[in-house]
């Protein structure tokens, strides 16, 4: 496996979601598509630590993190993390319902959880870079 900087090949990934079952399903889905899930977190604090330590290429952030807001986490990742990973928002809600919020956030884009795949993530990152 290659270590790559953001912008080139997207390989290493961290998922932030408070639902354990989804984390497991998502991991297998992404890894089958060639994205290595280097870590998962269920809270903002955990996520920020993990990102600092693992320096992933992309971070998938659930919009609804229990009592915390995924949007807040996105802002903090962008503001605080030296790793500067790509950030993709994910949610059980459809894009139509959250588009206003997604476009207002610094995230690269949005993937509906039911549609999650390595390819979908790479597409969003690529679209976000243009």
């Amino acid at each position: 496996m290659l270590w790559c900087n953001a912008g080139a090949v997207v390989r290493r990934c961290v998922i932030v979601d408070d639902n354990e079952r989804f984390l497991a399903v998502a991991r297998s889905s992404l890894e089958r598509g060639g994205l290595e899930v280097v870590g998962t977190a269920t809270t903002t604090t955990q996520a920020l630590e993990l990102i600092g330590a693992l320096r992933p290429d992309v971070v998938l952030v659930d919009i609804a993190l229990g009592t915390e807001s995924g949007f807040d986490l996105v802002h903090r990742i962008v503001a605080e993390s030296s790793a500067r990973p790509h950030v993709v928002l994910i949610s059980t809600r459809r894009e139509d319902d959250v588009a206003e919020l997604v476009s207002a956030s610094p995230a690269a884009g949005f993937v509906w959880k039911a549609d999650l795949s390595a390819r979908a993530v790479r597409d969003v990152v690529a679209a976000g870079e243009q």
């Binding site: 639902n19 079952r21 989804f22 399903v25 998502a26 297998s28 889905s29 089958r32 919009i63 609804a64 807001s69 949007f71 059980t92 809600r93 459809r94 139509d96 319902d97 959250v98 588009a99 206003e100 919020l101 207002a104 509906w112 959880k113 039911a114 999650l116 795949s117």
Partner: protein
């Protein structure tokens, strides 16, 4: 009037002091004897003297008529002696004695006749005078002249008829006082009326009240009547008090007084009673119609205020103002205040009327009621209070420059707690004794208006609570759906895809089946999404009003021109209400308006969130048509906001809503 028996200058020959009567009779008689003697001396030259003695009757009769039998007897004797000495010495003693006896008898008869005649003339003249005086008073009463005018007329007529020097008319009051309502005097003296004294401090009025019948007082006692100092000043020596009984109760008293201790003959009381009867009738009528009139006025005013109170919106201010404006006129007060008591023992002016210092009493002005003042007493005791001021010096500073002479205040009690007070003040003497009672009708209406307002506010608050609770439930439902079913279904869909991807190529049937399954789950997710959107827009709680309204506008099938001037989040209730208004209005536009264009504008302005939804459709929206618009009214009003729907047929629909930001 010559027959008037009371004053010295009017005394005639018969009624003067005895000495005067005798001297007068003797002098005039002597003169007449001189004249008759002269006449007799002349006639004696031609006629025999015996027949001439009879001529001396010309001297005796006038004296008998004017000075009575006694002086006439004296003149009879003098006449016989003069005749015997000067004209013709008698042949015998007998002739002179017989002549003397005839003279005296004639004098007696003539004097008696004259006195009787005089009496009956006097009596008939008295009667005529009394009748015409009574007629004058009765005419006045029938014409319905103001009571005060009638009172003055009665005191004058009675005074003149009885030959009094001073007449007063007093009315008994509930508080054990008597108030002078009219007075008359034949002497130059200032007659104050409106003076009020405790009955116990009077002499005549008190005795009349006790006896319920006419009372006669003479000597120094007479000066201690209701007109005490005045009676003393005028030197009153005798008085009669007669009761005025109107409508079965002792209404008042007429007091006639004279400087002459024996001025009033025994029939005087009876004569006065004729007038008091007339007076009583007039008073009964006047009081009945005044009460009727007052009652009608009061009822009308109460009705006006009550209507205002019943109609009143959230603000009872108009009720306070109307009460302040009406009470003064009705209760005969010059100034009125409506006040609310605060927990820190201050009082706040809600409305005021008739005061000179209006700045001190502007609506919302606060002050701490001074001790003593009626407001302070009401505040302390919770009961009506009255303070009458004899001098300006005793008044609290808040009455400076108001020239107030009497103040009364009554409590406003709202649901058995002391809420405030209505106070009235007069600049012209004491307020009537029934002021406290009559104020109560007004304090009760004000209390009702306040209770209404409070219960209305409570109603709005509970309506807001119900709606807020409903919103919270819906939000939780939406969250539960999201965190539960949706979350699981999403994982399931993803897992199915994963499994599908693992299925070996030769099991294409299984793969296709799994694919259909995943598609079904996605379809269920879509249905669920529609459902949960209807329950509560997640974006509203997550992103606030701006993103939520933008989402709404973007999704609308009718093009929406959106103008948002919002820069922060608002209270949940406000955001939800605004969102629902916009959502329902746009839904209606799509459903009913057949519009091509809609506008949605929301901005924060002047402490309110203002929202405007306009479409160019067919118009004709009515809240009775469905539950949508009605629900909007409920939501907006529950927050104390206003909603205006104008939707003329063919003119599009315009909904304007303002939501207060502080109260929400």
């Amino acid at each position: 009037m010559w027959w008037r028996p009371e004053s010295s200058e009017a005394s005639g020959p018969l009624t003067g002091p005895p000495l005067q009567r005798w001297v007068g009779g003797a002098l005039i008689g002597a003169g007449l004897i001189g004249l008759v003697t002269g006449l007799v001396a002349i006639l004696n030259l031609h006629l025999p003297p015996r027949g001439l003695l009879i001529l001396y009757l010309l001297a005796v009769v006038p004296v008998a008529i004017w000075w009575g039998a006694g002086p006439a007897a004296l003149i009879s004797a003098a006449s016989v002696i003069t005749f015997v000495l000067l004209i013709a010495p008698p042949q015998s003693e007998g002739t002179s004695v017989v002549a003397f006896a005839v003279f005296v008898a004639t004098a007696l008869v003539v004097a008696g006749l004259a006195a009787g005649l005089r009496r009956s003339v006097r009596r008939s003249q008295e009667l005529a005078a009394e009748q015409s005086a009574l007629r004058r008073v009765a005419t006045l009463a029938a014409e319905g002249v103001p009571a005060t005018e009638l009172f003055v007329a009665v005191t004058r007529e009675v005074g003149e008829l009885c030959g009094a020097d001073l007449t007063r008319l007093g009315r008994y009051e509930d508080g054990g006082t008597v108030i002078r309502v009219a007075a008359w005097t034949r002497m130059p003296a200032r007659l104050p009326i409106g003076g009020r004294v405790p009955v116990e401090e009077t002499r005549v009025a008190r005795d009349v009240l006790r006896a319920g019948a006419p009372v006669r007082v003479s000597g120094t006692d007479a000066t201690n009547g209701a007109g005490g100092p005045l009676a003393r000043e005028l030197g009153i020596r005798s008085s009669i008090g007669c009761p005025v009984v109107a409508g079965g109760r002792l209404w008042g008293v007429v007091v006639v007084s004279s400087r002459n201790p024996r001025a009033f003959p025994p029939e005087t009381e009876e004569r006065i009673l004729h007038f008091t009867e007339l007076l009583a009738t007039a008073v009964t009528n006047a009081e009945a119609s005044a009460a009727l009139l007052r009652n009608a006025d009061e009822q009308a005013a109460l009705r006006r205020v009550a209507t205002l109170a019943a109609r009143g919106g959230a603000d009872p201010g108009p009720v306070f103002r109307s009460v302040a404006d009406q009470v003064g006129g009705l209760l005969g007060a010059d100034c009125t205040s409506v006040l609310r008591f605060e927990s820190d023992r201050t009082a706040t002016y809600l409305a005021a009327h008739g005061w000179r210092d209006t700045r001190r009493r502007g609506p919302g002005a606060r002050w701490r009621p001074e001790t003593p003042s009626v407001i302070e007493q009401v505040q302390r005791t919770g009961r009506s209070a009255r303070l009458d001021y004899a001098s300006l010096g005793e008044q609290p500073p808040s009455l400076d420059g108001e020239d107030v002479t009497s103040t009364v205040a009554s409590p406003i009690v709202v649901e058995s707690r002391l809420w405030g007070s209505i106070g009235v003040a007069s600049r012209t003497g004491p307020l009537p004794p029934d002021t406290e009672d009559r104020l109560v009708a007004f304090t009760e209406i004000v209390a009702t208006a306040i209770a209404n307002t409070e219960s209305r506010a409570q109603l709005a608050a509970s309506r807001a609570r119900v709606i807020a609770a409903g919103d919270a439930t819906r939000r939780r439902l939406e969250r539960d759906l999201h965190d539960g079913a949706q979350q699981r279904l999403v994982s399931l869909a993803l897992e199915l895809r994963n499994v599908q991807a693992e299925v070996p190529d030769e099991l294409s049937g299984l793969s296709a089946g799994l694919g259909r399954l995943a598609a079904d789950v996605t379809a269920v997710l879509d249905e669920l999404r529609e459902l949960s959107r209807g329950i509560h827009p997640a974006i509203l709680s997550e992103g606030g009003l701006g993103p939520a309204l933008r989402t709404l506008a973007r999704r609308s099938p009718v093009a929406v021109e959106l103008t948002l001037r919002l820069d922060h989040r608002y209270a949940d209730a406000v955001e939800v209400a605004a969102y629902y208004v916009a959502a329902e209005a746009l839904t209606n536009t799509v459903k009913h308006a057949n519009a091509t264009h809609a506008e949605l504008a929301v901005e924060e302005y002047d402490g309110e969130l203002r929202l405007l939804v306009v479409d160019d459709g067919v118009g004709g929206a009515v809240p009775t048509g469905g539950t949508g618009l009605t629900g909007l009214y409920d939501r907006v009003e529950a927050l104390g906001g206003t909603i205006l729907v104008s939707s003329p047929g063919g003119g599009g629909t315009r909904i304007e809503v303002a939501l207060p930001l502080r109260a929400g």
